[in-house]
C-alpha cells in the first residue's frame, strides 16, 4: 500500500478502489469482536462461529457465543472466546452458500 500511495503522488492521493470495503476485525477488551465487511457465515453454533471475510476464513471458538448485532456486513460477536483461527481461502468466490 505504501508503494501504491508513493506511485500515485504521495499522501494526498486517492486510496485504491474498494479500500473501505475491505474486511476489518477489531477485538475489544470487553469480550466483543467486531468484524466489518464480513462476507458469509458458514457455520454458527453456541461453541463456534465460522465466517468468510475477504480471502480469509475466520473461525471463532468458545462458549456462550452470541451474535450481538448483525447489521448489513457488520457483525459483533460476544461470548467467552477461547480461540480464533484464520485460514486462507484458495478461491474466495467458491465459499459455501
Amino acid at each position: 500500500m505504501k508503494q501504491h500511495f508513493n506511485a500515485r503522488g504521495g499522501l494526498f492521493s486517492q486510496p485504491p478502489q474498494n479500500f473501505y470495503a475491505r474486511p476489518e476485525m477489531h477485538i475489544l477488551c470487553g469480550g466483543l469482536i467486531q468484524i466489518e465487511n464480513c462476507g458469509k457465515i458458514t457455520d454458527f453454533s453456541a461453541s463456534g462461529l465460522s465466517l468468510c471475510a475477504g480471502r480469509w476464513n475466520i473461525c471463532l471458538y468458545g462458549t456462550e457465543l452470541m451474535i450481538r448485532s448483525l447489521a448489513g456486513h457488520r457483525l459483533i460477536v460476544a461470548g467467552k472466546i477461547s480461540r480464533i483461527e484464520f485460514g486462507l481461502l484458495e478461491n474466495p468466490k467458491e465459499t459455501p452458500p
Partner: protein, 393 residues
C-alpha cells in the same frame, strides 16, 4: 404477521420488536440472506435446534420467503414495544378517529368565544359590558376577530365615562374583561359673572351668599326676575368691582299648578299575547328554533341571551330568546278618586321639576268637572331656592 408499511419507522425506532426462533433447515443461509439484504438482527443466540434472534417487527415479514427457501421454520417467541400495546386500537378505529377529531375541534374552536370572565367588575356593570359585547357580536359561540375586539373596546371606553381603563383580552376561547375605577378629575370651574335673579314671586326667608353682592335681605318681597345677587358693584371712585356671584336664596313661594285628567282615555297597552323566538348561536352558525313570526301589528320586543353551560363547563354556544309582547290601543275608564290622584300627582311632578329642593309647607286643591274631564288646580306654599342665573332657562 404483516404490519402496514407506515409502521416500519416505529419498528426501527424500537416501538415494535420481536424475538423469534428459527428451527431446522439451513440457518446460516438465512443469516447470509439477512446480511446481503441488510435486515438487522440482534442478540442471535444459537441453541440445539437453531437460533433465536431479535428483529424489528416490520422486518419480520420479509423473513418468511427466504426462510421457506432455507426450509427453516420461524416462530415468534415474544413481542415487545408500545406498538403491540396499542395494536388493539386498529380494531377500534372509531376511538382513534374520535380522539383526532376532538383535538382538531379543540384547536379549531379556540377562535370562537367559549366564556366571558370579568375581573374587578361589579355585577351590575357586568350586565352593561355584556350588552356592549352583544352589540359588537361578541357572545358565546361567535367567532372573535381583532376588528370586533377593537370595536368593543372603543364602545366600552366611550360608554363608561367614570371608568379609568377597560381591557378585553381574548386567549384560546376565553374573553377576560377588566376595568379600573376612574379617578375623579377636578373640573376647572370657569367663572360665571351672570347675576342671580328670582325664579318666582317670593318672600325671602334665608340668604346664603358665598360671593358676589346681595341685593336683597331676609323678609323682603321679590318679584319674578328681580335681581338677587349681582356680580358687579361700583367702587367709591366709580370704577366697577367684579366678583363672581355665588349662593342660594331661600324664599317662601306660593304657586299654583294645574293638571287635566279625563276619566276615559285611550292608551297603548299590552294585550297579554306573547310570542317568542329562540335561536342558538354556535360555531356552526345561527340555528333558529320554532321560528314563528309574530303577526302582531304593534309589539314590544325584549331579547334575553343566555350562555350554554354543561355544569361548570362553558360551551361555545348562546341561546338567544326574543320575546314579543303585543300592544294595542285600549280604553281605560278611571274612577273619580283615581283621576284625582293622577292629577294631583301630575301637579306635584310639575312642582318638583321647577323646584327640585322644594319643601312643601301647605297645599290645597281645587277641582272642576266638565264632560268627564277633571281639571285639578293645586295651590302650594313651599320653601325653595329661588335663585337662578339670569338668562338660564
Amino acid at each position: 404477521m404483516k404490519l402496514p408499511g407506515k409502521t416500519a419507522c416505529f419498528s426501527r425506532a424500537g416501538l415494535a420488536g420481536l424475538t423469534f426462533e428459527a428451527r431446522g433447515g439451513q440457518q446460516e443461509k438465512l443469516l447470509n440472506w439477512c446480511i446481503s439484504h441488510k435486515v438487522q438482527l440482534c442478540s442471535i443466540q444459537a441453541n440445539d435446534t437453531g437460533f433465536t434472534a431479535d428483529i424489528a417487527a416490520a422486518d419480520y415479514a420479509r423473513l418468511h420467503a427466504p426462510a421457506r427457501r432455507c426450509r427453516t421454520r420461524l416462530r415468534v417467541i415474544a413481542r415487545r414495544g408500545s406498538w403491540f400495546h396499542l395494536r388493539w386500537l386498529l380494531q377500534r378505529p372509531g376511538l382513534v378517529l374520535g380522539a383526532v377529531l376532538f383535538c382538531w375541534l379543540m384547536l379549531w374552536s379556540a377562535n370562537y368565544l367559549w366564556a366571558v370572565r370579568f375581573v374587578n367588575v361589579p355585577t351590575q356593570q357586568q350586565q352593561k359590558i355584556r350588552a356592549v359585547l352583544s352589540e359588537c357580536a361578541l357572545c358565546e359561540g361567535q367567532r372573535v376577530t381583532e376588528q370586533k375586539l377593537a370595536l368593543a373596546r372603543r364602545e366600552l371606553l366611550s360608554q363608561s365615562e367614570n371608568w379609568g381603563w377597560t381591557a378585553l383580552n381574548f386567549y384560546k376561547g376565553r374573553l377576560v374583561a377588566e376595568r379600573t375605577e376612574g379617578r375623579p378629575s377636578v373640573p376647572v370651574l370657569q367663572k360665571d359673572h351672570r347675576p342671580y335673579v328670582a325664579a318666582a314671586n317670593a318672600t325671602i326667608v334665608e340668604t346664603h351668599i358665598e360671593s358676589g353682592f346681595a341685593q336683597i335681605a331676609a323678609g323682603q318681597q321679590v318679584e319674578q326676575g328681580q335681581l338677587l345677587i349681582s356680580g358687579e358693584r361700583p367702587a367709591r371712585d366709580g370704577t366697577p368691582v367684579q366678583q363672581e356671584p355665588l349662593g342660594r336664596v331661600i324664599g317662601l313661594v306660593q304657586r299654583d299648578y294645574q293638571a287635566v285628567r279625563p276619566l276615559w282615555e285611550e292608551y297603548l297597552g299590552k294585550t297579554g299575547r306573547i310570542a317568542s323566538k329562540k335561536s342558538l348561536i354556535c360555531p356552526l352558525g345561527t340555528i333558529q328554533f320554532a321560528q314563528r313570526k309574530p303577526n302582531f301589528k304593534t309589539f314590544e320586543s325584549k331579547t334575553v341571551q343566555e350562555a350554554l353551560c354543561l355544569g361548570p363547563i362553558s360551551l361555545p354556544a348562546t341561546i338567544t330568546e326574543t320575546w314579543y309582547l303585543e300592544k294595542t290601543m285600549q280604553e281605560r275608564t278611571l274612577s273619580e278618586k283615581a283621576a284625582r290622584e293622577f292629577a294631583q300627582y301630575a301637579c306635584l311632578m310639575q312642582l318638583y321639576s321647577d323646584f327640585p329642593d322644594a319643601q312643601i309647607a301647605a297645599r290645597s286643591a281645587e277641582e272642576s268637572w266638565q264632560n268627564g274631564v277633571l281639571t285639578c288646580t293645586m295651590h302650594f306654599t313651599f320653601r325653595a331656592n329661588i335663585a337662578v342665573r339670569a338668562g338660564a332657562s
